[in-house]
Symmetry: D3
Subunit: 332 residues, 6 copies
Amino acid sequence: MPAPVNLPSLAVGDRVQDPLLVLDVEQHAQDNGSPYTVLVLGNRTGRISSAPFWLDQQHVVAGIARNHVVQIIGEVKTYRERKQLDVSSLRVLPRDSVDLAQLLPSVGGGDVARYWETLDGWRRELTKPRLKRVLDLFYEDDDFRRQYGECPASVSGHHAALGGLLKHTVEVGAIARTITRAAGADGELVLAGVLLHDIGKLEAYRWDGAFDYTDRHHLLGHVVLSSLMLDRRMEQEREPPCTEQERAILHHLILSHHGRLEYGSPVRPVMLEAEVLHWADNASARTASMADALRDSDAFGEGGLVSQRRFWELDHRRVYRGTSDWGKAGGA
Amino acid sequence: MPAPVNLPSLAVGDRVQDPLLVLDVEQHAQDNGSPYTVLVLGNRTGRISSAPFWLDQQHVVAGIARNHVVQIIGEVKTYRERKQLDVSSLRVLPRDSVDLAQLLPSVGGGDVARYWETLDGWRRELTKPRLKRVLDLFYEDDDFRRQYGECPASVSGHHAALGGLLKHTVEVGAIARTITRAAGADGELVLAGVLLHDIGKLEAYRWDGAFDYTDRHHLLGHVVLSSLMLDRRMEQEREPPCTEQERAILHHLILSHHGRLEYGSPVRPVMLEAEVLHWADNASARTASMADALRDSDAFGEGGLVSQRRFWELDHRRVYRGTSDWGKAGGA
Amino acid sequence: MPAPVNLPSLAVGDRVQDPLLVLDVEQHAQDNGSPYTVLVLGNRTGRISSAPFWLDQQHVVAGIARNHVVQIIGEVKTYRERKQLDVSSLRVLPRDSVDLAQLLPSVGGGDVARYWETLDGWRRELTKPRLKRVLDLFYEDDDFRRQYGECPASVSGHHAALGGLLKHTVEVGAIARTITRAAGADGELVLAGVLLHDIGKLEAYRWDGAFDYTDRHHLLGHVVLSSLMLDRRMEQEREPPCTEQERAILHHLILSHHGRLEYGSPVRPVMLEAEVLHWADNASARTASMADALRDSDAFGEGGLVSQRRFWELDHRRVYRGTSDWGKAGGA
Amino acid sequence: MPAPVNLPSLAVGDRVQDPLLVLDVEQHAQDNGSPYTVLVLGNRTGRISSAPFWLDQQHVVAGIARNHVVQIIGEVKTYRERKQLDVSSLRVLPRDSVDLAQLLPSVGGGDVARYWETLDGWRRELTKPRLKRVLDLFYEDDDFRRQYGECPASVSGHHAALGGLLKHTVEVGAIARTITRAAGADGELVLAGVLLHDIGKLEAYRWDGAFDYTDRHHLLGHVVLSSLMLDRRMEQEREPPCTEQERAILHHLILSHHGRLEYGSPVRPVMLEAEVLHWADNASARTASMADALRDSDAFGEGGLVSQRRFWELDHRRVYRGTSDWGKAGGA
Amino acid sequence: MPAPVNLPSLAVGDRVQDPLLVLDVEQHAQDNGSPYTVLVLGNRTGRISSAPFWLDQQHVVAGIARNHVVQIIGEVKTYRERKQLDVSSLRVLPRDSVDLAQLLPSVGGGDVARYWETLDGWRRELTKPRLKRVLDLFYEDDDFRRQYGECPASVSGHHAALGGLLKHTVEVGAIARTITRAAGADGELVLAGVLLHDIGKLEAYRWDGAFDYTDRHHLLGHVVLSSLMLDRRMEQEREPPCTEQERAILHHLILSHHGRLEYGSPVRPVMLEAEVLHWADNASARTASMADALRDSDAFGEGGLVSQRRFWELDHRRVYRGTSDWGKAGGA
Amino acid sequence: MPAPVNLPSLAVGDRVQDPLLVLDVEQHAQDNGSPYTVLVLGNRTGRISSAPFWLDQQHVVAGIARNHVVQIIGEVKTYRERKQLDVSSLRVLPRDSVDLAQLLPSVGGGDVARYWETLDGWRRELTKPRLKRVLDLFYEDDDFRRQYGECPASVSGHHAALGGLLKHTVEVGAIARTITRAAGADGELVLAGVLLHDIGKLEAYRWDGAFDYTDRHHLLGHVVLSSLMLDRRMEQEREPPCTEQERAILHHLILSHHGRLEYGSPVRPVMLEAEVLHWADNASARTASMADALRDSDAFGEGGLVSQRRFWELDHRRVYRGTSDWGKAGGA
């Protein structure tokens, strides 16, 4: 299968002939009451809006709904300084005819393999039998691995891509290992926290189309979903894979990883390993989010170094993209 | 067995000859370095401190530890305006020789029976089969009932007494029923929330001596402990007693009952029944706590109407105990 | 008089021939600068927007202003997925020609009578002469009763309907009575707080047309307005109806009923009865508000259980309207 | 009458033969249980503790209570680096035998006269008849003036001295006049706010002995007490001295002067004059409080420039008392 | 040069023939996709939007950018109840052909001179040699004076006008002098704080066109920029103009003047003079901002006394513009 | 020189014959007024209190002050369950006769060398000339290196030891490098932030005796002190070592490293490198602090796993020291 068209880098006049995912169907109307429709279309490289389908083209978009896969033929034009895709032909494809990985933002299949390699390498260093046994309940389970390798780390925030949760996990793991050395924490317990803290996102998010929250997310939140997933899986074992105190410690690592009650953790970290996990998780999530904000060129005025048009979602902050080569031949 | 001596109402000169629980063993010393010991002794009516055991009496208290039951003979004296018990004889009793209910603050056995009657009456009104089935897993289990009828609702705050959790549950239930009618909520679901929201306190608190937190409390908190207790119990059933969505709803009622993230709920109420439960729980806990503060006569100066000497623990507030008969013959 | 047309349940094609209240006159313009006008029209069942009055119809709406009563003839159409009323004829009616109760959201006259019955029943239980005397200053005053039976409990939040304040008062009273029993508070004093805490809303709100705030509300707030109304009324009596301390206690019940300084109470509750009142007031207001949010079907996507399109105004929360019959034959 | 002895400047060995006010009677005990008593004694210059009255001197202090006036003969000694007054003779005086102004901290009678002069000068500038009429209800009332000239501005914070409220009022007035000019506010209305905003302190504080809060303060707070005092006084007039809107504006100035809900104002300032009053009030209170903190030499270590031993009560801040002469001959 | 046309007071039908500054170039589009452009034009009296330049007029505005100076001929019309300028002719002028003071909001040249007179008068009262020496580094420097006399005190908040910083400085100085007298602070040190606290705004803001932030503002903030500007200037002197402790004190006055960490001060005031400065700065900035909000007639409904349509930016507050003449002949 | 005696591991009956630093001189008194003195003595291994010096031994401690070095002969006893040193002989030593590194907590000289090696290794990787030039101003300056290698990272919090700042810097550097890789930040700029962010602590802390704050710390804070130190050093260069924009970026890294205004940063991070630095700094400081809390055995009851007696200073949290071997032969 050919690589999907790179939507963010399209130029005016480029032609598109590609399967795309319908991320949204927006209903608008002219001021005279005449309705028109705009499709938000995406693939794994990004997203683009269609030109309006006016009243006389409504039959073209009739029946098109969110999460449909459509074969598009069109040409890129501009409108209000934003590119839009003027669609000349549109056909609904069977859902299974295109790999979802081509239609949704993704960290990339090759990366996924590399992340697994890193994670599994760390797991092989484990020496504590019962700890390993618990982790194996998940990380030796093919079905879990398949899902965990696909799930995004958030719906629209940091690492919002197929494989994003896995990537985030590897980042947290790497950062946590460095903090562990500095703080003299128990590295195996920290690793357990890294591997378990977000497993509930498999139940909190959907990625079988545009990323979305499940109802379970709204009712329980991903923090407690992780704890319940751990608990139920252990209940299914004939023999308890670890002691009750150990189980409580694992729950504590999961439950406290947001660090503060007001961030959704029902308890604050009371163990060094939980504290390490919390800061590693924060460091990965926050810096990934800021890197995204810096890449969002729409937020900056032309040539501007400060994001004037859009704030970074985290506490409503502007970001600065000024750089310098500090006198280095060949630049920054 | 005779009623235990009423400690708060003892007068100077009264003699005590009773079994008491050792709530604390305080080590002090005179300024010349000479050590002395004070015992904090209690029974279900309250607590009193012993007079100091000076250096030459240290053998009397040697080996005495927190949670010992001791047979005391002594006389009430005063010291720095507070009553103390001058102990002339002290003998450790076997732990089982005295009913714990005589030694710890308690709502009273008769009350417990009455509270059960109320709760069970409400349960009999249930018409939804799967909801009843889930509640019966706990409320038809004799062991659960025995524990639930003993457990305090807090260690040192509201309803900190044997049977206090049950009493609190009945209060929450009664208040929730009234709110339910006003708000048009689903009364059976609210009742389920009332009956399940605090079950984790059975694992969060100890009452086999002076009330205390378990390590599980520090690691998981009673909110999540309630959810895990519900979940595990349902896992043990061959047939799931309700659907997954229903289970999620029950978890939501438990998890959101503190109302806000900063009060320890990992999710805020998103259902009307959860909102009703939250306010009923708050109303019972806060007003019980204030009633305690108003009864704490030590906090008021002699004849004073405003608590000058001690703040109400809830947001550091003074309380006012002024009353009036509003002209009613026979008084307030 | 016939029942007013039920605006929320109108279907496309339905004809309307009814007096309606003008809640707002919105001025818009097409992008070519051509102006058009939309009327927001309502009666006691709800509200609906008119179809645009284009440039050539401006004479039809000339002179129409907020709070006019108009006789409308029109037909329901849809536009951008929302219903609108295409008005073919519009005529201003004399304000007094239609009962305001037909034009504004209302709890219903029958309900009002029932609420009074409940309140007056509670008042008859009072045994404290001076307390009764103070309450009678208001609750035996026909003019006060007439206004109190009409006033909404808020402009656009909980119980925003004619008679809403009375309904809210009865709810607070019922809840407070239950809490009073649990907490051992003085029920007569609590009832006084229930009956007096919101009387200032008579001066803080207007309901002689679309609900609105008075300037007095912006300058003093309804909490202090209640206190001033109580105080002035008592000043008018030749003999003070109660003692100064009793008067201070009544003021305290009013002033502290929001519970916290940041919620607009200049003092926090320091009496048990004030604490009871605060929680009862909160429970009624918050759950009524959430019930409204759950009824707002526009906030939910079609078939969606979680309110995606609009947050519940109280701390920006989504709500969940999933239900289950829990296996009960005949449903939820 | 001779000036009272200057307590803060007493040196070891100095003899005292003076009437003093008993501010507190502290009961202590030696570690052997032997009780002793310490009197905290004060006059308008400050306070000093007595040396302990041991067991064999208990008869000397028997019957001595807070707010007694006592004739003391004694000598200054030191104990634990603090001065104490070793009392050789002590006799209770009739309360009226000594002017309270000699016994309590005071801004000084001469200052009071000067403050009145300033205030009355400002009042004479008033040109708006109804505004003047309202202010005269208080400021032409001898009884009000007598009380207002005595009342402290706080019990233990800023301007906690007889005449302190008057002094604070003059400070607020002077600052408010400067802000008024900068902001273009209505100076007469601002002056009304200055003169009325704290009148409720006459009912909130007691200064007929050691400064203290009244029960009314705990139940209503001084902000609303000011509003009620204004309202009742106006009710007593046969003719209303101003319009209802004007009355509401005066209430607004009083009620909003703390600036924020969380500081005890039930409404925030919505008028320019209220905003001016708020900042002037804050500026006077906060800087007076910090000046006190800088004068509290006990808070600083010997020779230290930073207050290490005691924080400034306002947000737990240290203060710095370093100075420099900046090269000026003759010093700072 | 003739006075610039007064933009806020233009009436429909008025003709404009004036140089104006382009504050913004807004790109819009009709719903049919046809683009149009609106210019936001301003001079020192205020701002006005142009009527749309439709597709066939795009050549007129081609090349027009923010901060261009344009000679405009046009006529005032209305659209959606707002005035707009229908431009018939537009010509770009050389930037230097018009005095910036005519094009940007300004406190007025005459006022600037008067403000300098006041400030310099205060400076002449200084008696402390080293303090004077430090202030002279800036206030005897013609280049600094020129810039300081132009710089606005904020980009869009209080005193956002040419000369606004100077005006604010004089206001802070006047208020601070009054507080200084009340609090017994060191007036010379306070004056130093007044003169230095905002000097960094010269580097934080741009006023060579529409007011804007510099990148340095985003990276360092004006508080620290003030400190760095002071420090560097002193480093350039061969002889240090004051001692290190004195320098630290000046830095403290600058750094703490926002009063709280959360308002951008890295340290809280620990000196009385810093506290005085903080409250004077606040009083000037907040009341100036509220006065602006009260003058913003668009925020009020026609005839309305409460700002319904726009909140005062400071904590989202409404403002009230009701006045009364209090019975004074000749009005308010 | 022999290793100093290990104070925390002393047992009752051990004899001490060592030079120790006087950390504090506490004046107490018996209840009979008889004064006594306790010395708090320390060396690099920890601290211990002396037994009381009673009245008849006051001559022994006369003239002894904080920061004196004394030669002690004594024996370890216990009192109130805490060890104390019964001093039989005490002699003041010349300050220079003992290496400060023996008297204050220290990370150890060998560690310091190792930390420098790591830091210098990172510096050698720098490729950007002007960045390197700026860092060399400090890190090639022997005097700076000597001080930086001694300075503690805090007075009583994390890394409060000689060499602690260097240790903290290395930890922050290691963690920041890992985050840098994950986030795709500019590693050289991050390193610059790591090396410069805390340099102001050299001026904020004193370690020429018991650790303490300087007055400069109270007036400016260590964050701004770092910025000023950087700025002044660059001013001293004849040629500016980097551009003004680059200088602003370095200031930004320093100023924003606390991450939030309320934590003392006058600006929040707006660059990715600043965000990385912030989280790395937090991770090092917080986990080191929690590790200290877990080592504080006094905070735990005997055998207790939860710190009951003392909270972790960071947000008043308890910590849990339970461990498990998870079935690993040979233990945890």
